[in-house]
């Protein structure tokens, strides 16, 4: 179980770095969603299911979608 936790931590950090380094805005937004999903697993493992549910529903679901809609909308305005 501890190895799975360490793997999840590693994926969180890598996804965070990928979100910063990526030159494509859409993939950066998806990487931020991946960070939220992994962090929600870590919240669950640390005994906070309420926080984990919020993080998964709002962090990984809704805010990723809002980022994607905003990127799409601003690209339309630019070009």
């Amino acid at each position: 179980m501890i190895y799975l936790d360490l793997l999840i931590c590693l994926v969180t950090v890598l996804a965070g770095v990928a979100a910063m380094r990526s030159s494509n805005l859409v993939s950066a937004a998806v990487m931020v969603g991946v960070v939220s999903l992994m962090v929600s697993y870590l919240f669950l493992r640390m005994g906070a299911p309420d926080v984990a549910m919020t993080e998964a529903a709002i962090g990984a679901g809704l805010s990723t979608l809002i980022f994607l809609i905003a990127i799409r909308r601003t690209e339309e305005e630019e070009g």
């Binding site: 309420d50 709002i58 809704l62 809002i66 809609i69």
Partner: protein
Amino acid sequence: MKHIFSLVLLLVMGGMLWTLIPLGQPTEPGEVANHYIQHGIEENRGANLVTSVIVNYRGFDTLGEVTVLFLSVAGAGFVLRRRDGLTPMVARPSSEILQTGARMLFAPLIVFGAYIFVHGHLSPGGGFQGGAVVASAVMLLLLADRDHQLPHGFMSWLESVAGFAFVLVGLAGLMVAGSFLSNQGVLPLGTWNRLFSGGVIPVIYILVGLKVGTELSALLDTMMNSGRPAENPGGEH
């Protein structure tokens, strides 16, 4: 000079983070936390102690959080004004399979969201989580069917009534027990771990769920249906 300044700033920030490490270690709960753990069940009869803290002991903070969410949605609605005759966000209509699937999933998702916020005092989750699930059901419908119109009048009515009722429940506590949002004597507390238990806690969490669900749905709808007009030959762009 600039590089030295950045290095010093980085070191100072690192040092500040270093002092945060001991805060992550498990410690004995303090006086207030001990009171919640020992007397939380008898005072509120909520099986989920987290909900008792969020809605009752720190209920005033929750009212503030709901207000912050309302203000941000209102701000987004003000900046991104809805205009008629816009370019649809989705360029071409989605396939029959996607539309039918979204319509089939819509009702179970709404019921699941309602389940989460109705059972907030018994199991993990509550108004905010259930409201987010309701909003994702609405989002699915909006993405699958680009011509779908939300009932805006009903939604803003529901949202206002839920916010107003939250304050009314708080004022009832003020009148009966002498403190805002108090849970003593307003509604019967009931038996521990039953659906009808916890006094005003489930009532408040259902109101929060309705409010968060309608607000987030309205935010998604505003973002998808705002922008420049569809045909704009004389364009200001």
